[in-house]
């Protein structure tokens, strides 16, 4: 119970930072101050809060859980590819969005799209798609909070109560502190969970008697494939490089890009991003793999047994039985079991707080949704003019309460593991929306109809994948279930972990089709006025 108490103290500290930020706010009733901290974040806070914003529960819990079952491939799949693609997109897109925000006063991506493409309701459609896709990301945070508190307290704090506490704390400091509070809390949390990896690695390494013997024992066992990437196909591995495109398309990341005081503040973020990702993911992935050598933790043994039964007898089971075993084998809490087994009680508490820090990154998503609602819907449809800016900020705060309650209600029922839930819906969807940004910023010929086509396609594709996976049950580990293979060419399959299209993850055809739709539809539809294009690309006739 002591680790749980340390975590509760940490939650109190976070709450205090958020409320302290509220007291420091100079223009409490100004929308730009509440939602963007008056575009005044300095280099240190900007780097750590932007990075922290992008790290959620899966950075520690999901990564170690995925590595526990799939091996070292997890790091290359998500971390190192993100270390290349995300800073690159911040460099190319984030800086441009920052400049446009400063010049034209944009506070959300949809405001930019509306201005760039001279559209009104199409902007609302894009808002709706972004909002629906962002909710799973918020759910991840609440689920992670519930899992963490449940495990750290040894089952004393039930999942529903842990999730409720995390939801309440996050909601409170976002409610009071707005962007300033969120950025400060994120900075504090990022420093904490950057330290987490190194400390957890050292403590668990010493506890296990060094990693050398554990690694060599795995190498000599039937589990040696965990030290390779045999469990994942090269096509699947390649597909994953499309997922980090989602980062810059996430509204909370783009909105964060608008908070920098000067553009120079992007420099440190771009350069240090790959190293920050490595500092968190490398220890977590490594520990997740090494957990397979732990034999004296009953919870980990139960997971290994469930995985073994699934692999050997899964084919003869009903889909529901397989799902149940998958849930038992999921390793989202494996790193916390390692800490409980090997770390001293007080340190387990501190490290638990580090996990909590990553888990609670849903704050900026909640704030982003509130910003989007108040700017893209409330203000756009006349609310700001009619009721004033103060009411707009209060509306944003009410929205924060409603969206948190909604996400909590879903988190209690969501069946998927944290990792799968995040990847399959939110990440693929936002990656598919990334052509919107590229077209808006770099292509004069893009049009609002092209943007609408991309938004509708993304929504349809996400729904189609979800329905497909609901209708066709996941097969046992091994060969996938081929659903459509005309002339022997395998087009659509249901894999144990999701869906495969031509052997790739759905994100690949989703992004490529989005780009194609943007090009084709834009070419045959009317362009924005020359004066609008001149504001974005300069005047060609000058």
């Amino acid at each position: 119970m002591i680790p749980a108490i340390v975590v509760f103290l940490y939650l109190a500290a976070v709450l205090y930072i958020g409320i302290f930020a509220f007291r420091r706010a100079t223009g409490r009733e100004k929308a730009e101050d509440y939602f963007l901290a008056s575009r005044s974040l300095g280099p240190f806070v900007f780097l750590f809060s932007l990075f922290g914003t992008n790290m959620t529960a899966f950075a520690i819990l999901g990564s170690s859980g995925h590595a526990f079952n799939n091996g070292i491939v997890t790091f290359g799949l998500m971390a190192s590819s993100s270390g290349l693609v995300i800073p690159l997109t911040i460099f190319l897109i984030g800086t441009r969005v920052w400049a446009l925000g400063k010049k034209y006063g944009f506070m959300t991506p949809v405001q930019m799209f509306r201005d760039r493409w001279e559209c009104t309701h199409i902007g609302t459609v894009i808002f709706a798609v972004q909002a629906v896709l962002l909710v799973p990301y918020i759910i991840i945070g609440i689920m992670g909070g519930g899992t963490t508190l449940y495990t750290i307290s040894g089952g004393v704090v039930p999942f529903w109560f842990g999730g409720a506490i995390v939801a309440m704390v996050v909601m409170s400091y976002v409610f009071f502190g707005g962007m300033r509070g969120t950025a400060w809390v994120n900075t504090f949390q990022t420093v904490l969970f950057l330290c987490f990896g190194a400390i957890a690695l050292s403590v668990i390494g010493v506890g296990m008697g060094g990693f050398r013997s554990a690694a060599q024992a795995i190498q000599a066992s039937p589990l040696s494939s965990l030290l390779t990437r045999e469990r994942i196909s090269p096509y699947y591995f390649f597909s994953y490089t499309f997922i980090p495109l989602s980062a810059i398309a996430f509204p909370h990341i783009l909105i964060f890009c608008l908070t920098a005081r000067k553009m120079n503040q992007f420099k440190k973020t771009v350069i240090f991003y790959p190293l920050c990702i490595m500092a968190i993911w490398l220890p977590c992935v490594f520990l997740g793999v090494m957990a397979n050598r732990v034999t004296d933790v009953p919870e980990i043994r139960a997971k290994q047994e469930a995985r073994r039964v699934l692999a050997t007898q899964g084919r003869n089971m009903l889909p529901e039985e397989r799902d149940q075993l998958r849930e038992q084998a999921a390793g989202d809490d494996v790193i916390m079991h390692l800490l409980q087994r090997y770390a001293p009680i007080w340190l387990a508490g501190l490290l638990g707080a580090g996990i909590m820090a990553a888990v609670m990154a849903s704050d900026s998503q909640i704030l982003a949704l509130s910003t989007m609602f108040t700017e893209d819907v409330f203000a756009f449809y006349g609310g700001k003019t009619r009721f004033g800016e103060s009411v707009q900020v209060q509306t944003g705060r009410i929205f924060i309460i409603l969206i948190t309650l909604f996400a909590y209600a879903i988190a209690l029922r969501a069946p998927e593991t944290i990792f799968e839930l995040a990847i399959q819906y939110a990440f693929s969807g936002f990656a598919s929306l990334s052509p919107l940004l590229i077209a808006a910023l770099f292509w004069r010929g893009s049009t609002k109809w092209g943007a609408l086509a991309v938004a509708l396609w993304t929504a349809s594709a996400v729904v189609a994948v979800a329905v497909f996976q609901e209708v066709v049950p996941a097969p046992a580990p091994g060969p996938s279930t081929i659903v459509w293979a005309p002339g022997g060419v395998e087009i659509l399959s249901r894999t144990p972990g999701g869906t495969s299209v031509f052997g790739f993850m759905p994100v690949v055809p989703m992004v490529l089709t989005s780009a194609l739709l943007m090009i084709v539809v834009s070419l045959i539809t009317k362009k924005p006025a020359a004066s609008t294009l001149a504001r974005y690309f300069g005047d060609r006739n000058r």
Partner: protein, 78 residues
Amino acid sequence: MKKILLVVAVVALYILHQDIWFWRSSYLVFGFIPIGLFYQACFSVAATLLMWLLVTFAWPAHLEEEVEQTKPGEDAAL
């Protein structure tokens, strides 16, 4: 020329991420780090160096100059 070299470097690093040559190797570097994991960690360091090159040699400074040249209220879209 500088920009072309940087684009080539980005593409090259993207291709190097697909390290199929270590796909099935369970060799342990220093006796405990799987080679595939070690390679991807080195890749992350290389990505940092690439980002430093981009920031040093291709920084879009003109964007900030444009912002500074825009007087408050001028060109406002909202």
